[in-house]
């Protein structure tokens, strides 16, 4: 499961640190204590930044770094598709061999295919992605509120 790509992201995480954002969430993996604090910043429907801080295993840390790579700068719709593709891969129990199309979407994140064989670690890999989803819902809710206010 420990692909070089994953270890690289773990040792040199991209975009780590908390910066200005529209919403912040704190997620915990109760079984192992992995934690992440994550902020999203939107420019309309474009993701301007995803910043984060946390402690956890290589899988959860690398996954946050990959998320930052993949989502920052994207339009929300596309980001959602990426998130769903990643979810599909992680829930595949090692049965899914990423094809070229999937590799196009997920880039470095295809390295997590091997993790999907380990149910206990899938939660680690998904921690930051679930946090992003949650933060996005909050941020857009707020933005929507701000607009209607």
């Amino acid at each position: 499961m420990y692909q070089d790509v994953i270890l690289d992201h773990y040792k040199h995480p991209h975009g780590r640190g908390l910066r200005d954002g529209d919403a912040e969430v704190h997620h915990v993996n109760p079984t192992c204590g992995d934690e992440i604090t994550l902020r999203v910043k939107y420019d309309g429907s474009r993701i301007e930044d995803v910043s984060y801080e946390g402690q956890g295993c290589s899988i959860s840390q690398a996954s946050a770094s990959v998320l930052n790579d993949l989502l920052v700068g994207k339009e929300l719709e596309e980001a959602r598709q990426i998130q769903e593709t990643f979810l599909t891969l992680m829930q595949s129990k090692g049965q899914l061999e990423p094809d070229d199309a999937m590799e196009e979407v997920l880039e470095d994140a295809v390295a997590f295919a091997g993790v999907s064989k380990y149910p206990a670690r899938v939660k680690c890999a998904l921690l930051s992605w679930m946090a992003w989803k949650d933060a996005t819902a909050q941020a857009l809710g707020e933005l929507a509120e701000r607009k209607t206010a």
Partner: protein
């Protein structure tokens, strides 16, 4: 050999059950007619237990090593199997307990500690029936005592059916929960679910069904039942001892408070406070009955491969034959329905004034194993003015020849005490 339409190939099936080869009292092969108390276990279930312990034994849910992942997959896989077996809308609605009694106590305690609108308190009423097993009486008596709620119940007709004539009075606006058995373990009666559920829904009461004597014997579809909770027990359905099931509707399991506290059921713990995991884990404190769940999963596979509808048909045929033959025995009075319609395969009776203990003892000497006593349903005995009954109960491995052996045995009993 008696041929009855609908019978299973018991010759093949009996080969799966080692205990049915057991020899008792000077070389008599056992005639096991006590499956309503507990069923025998097929080789397939014992193999699953052994394989679990020999190859995959580890504690579940927190291990990152291979065997722990396997144990978790086996345990959670058993939950999937049970969910499918009872047609649960979601696997997360299946809670593993230690037996049906714990399942029923769990419901009673959740409602005692719940917030509105579920909370049972001194202004509210609980409804059960007079044919319940003690495990579906005492938890509600305890809840009533502890909360001040009023306990009411449906009585029984002379022929062993629920008396629902006063249903609108018994189940009323104050009723919070109606808990009743799908099939009586003493009378054999199969109760009409729909009428009770409809009335309970009218007044907004929850419905809990004790399916301990149903799950082993017929297709069980929790969605069709339209109940809120369904409880049953592993050891009566070819599974190991030490495991029971509570199925509950997801929204309820989300809303209701936990019962037992401990490892596995938490989300996060500090000395000051804790939060709980989502159902089903919220209700599974401590190391669960892992091997027993795996064994129950194997039992469910075994039963499903034969087919629950086929098992029901087999038992119906045996019951019809048994009722007919038993009614031929002089002085024998069946306590419960005297036909095979809407009844399960447990048949209770009294034999003149020969005490059931004596009936059971003399039958045992002939190798015939029946249960005697009040079968944990003493109110039924009180209702019919008898101290106890003898009960013969049948399962997928029971044969017409065993019914014949019972009837011959009863003749012997009559002569012995005659």
């Amino acid at each position: 050999m008696t041929f009855l339409p609908g019978l299973l190939d018991t010759e093949a099936i009996r080969k799966d059950f080692p205990l049915l080869d057991r020899v008792v009292h000077d070389g008599k092969k056992i005639v096991y007619l006590d499956s309503a108390a507990t069923s025998q276990k097929p080789r397939q279930v014992l193999d699953a237990l052994n394989e679990y312990y020999e190859q995959h034994n580890a504690n579940v849910h927190r291990g990152v090593y291979l065997v722990a992942e396997e144990a978790t997959a086996l345990y959670e896989g058993a939950r999937d199997k049970v969910a499918t077996f009872i047609n649960a809308p979601s696997r997360d609605e299946v809670i593993f307990t230690k037996n049906a009694s714990e399942s029923l106590n769990l419901v009673a305690n959740m409602l005692g500690w719940a917030d509105e609108p579920y909370r049972v308190d001194s202004d509210t009423e609980i409804v059960i029936t007079e044919m319940e097993h003690h495990s579906n009486i005492v938890p509600w008596q305890l809840l009533a005592q502890r909360t001040g709620a009023k306990l009411k119940w449906f009585g029984l007709t002379d022929d062993g059916r629920l008396d629902l004539s006063n249903i609108d009075e018994i189940i009323n606006e104050k009723t919070k929960i109606v808990s009743f058995t799908l099939v009586s373990n003493l009378l054999g009666t199969h109760n009409p679910v729909e009428a009770i559920v409809r009335r309970a829904q009218q007044v907004g009461a929850l419905v809990c069904i004790d399916a301990s004597q149903a799950a082993p014997h017929m297709p069980l579809d929790v969605q069709a039942l339209q109940a809120d909770f369904v409880a049953f027990t592993g050891h009566k359905m070819c599974g190991p001892t030490g495991i029971g099931v509570l199925w509950g509707r997801q929204e309820l399991l989300e809303d209701l408070p936990p019962f037992l506290g401990g490892g596995e059921m938490i989300e996060t713990v500090s000395m000051h406070s804790s939060t709980y995991a989502p159902a089903p884990h919220k209700f599974e404190a401590g190391t669960p009955p892992i091997a027993q769940a795996v064994g129950l999963g194997a039992a469910v596979d075994y039963l499903s491969a034969i087919g629950m509808d086929k098992i029901a048909a087999h038992e119906h045929a045996i019951t019809e034959y048994a009722v007919k033959r038993l009614l031929e025995v002089p002085d024998l009075r069946i306590i419960g329905p005297t036909t095979a319609e809407d009844r399960g395969a447990a048949i209770s009776f009294v034999l003149g004034d020969i005490h059931p203990h004596d009936v059971g003892q003399v039958l045992d000497e002939e190798g015939i194993a029946v249960r005697v006593g009040h079968h944990c349903a003493r109110p039924v005995c009180l209702r019919y003015g008898i101290p106890a009954t003898t009960r013969a109960s049948f399962y997928l491995y029971s044969t017409p020849a065993e019914v014949d052996a019972l009837v011959d045995g009863l003749e012997h009993v009559r002569n012995f005490f005659g």
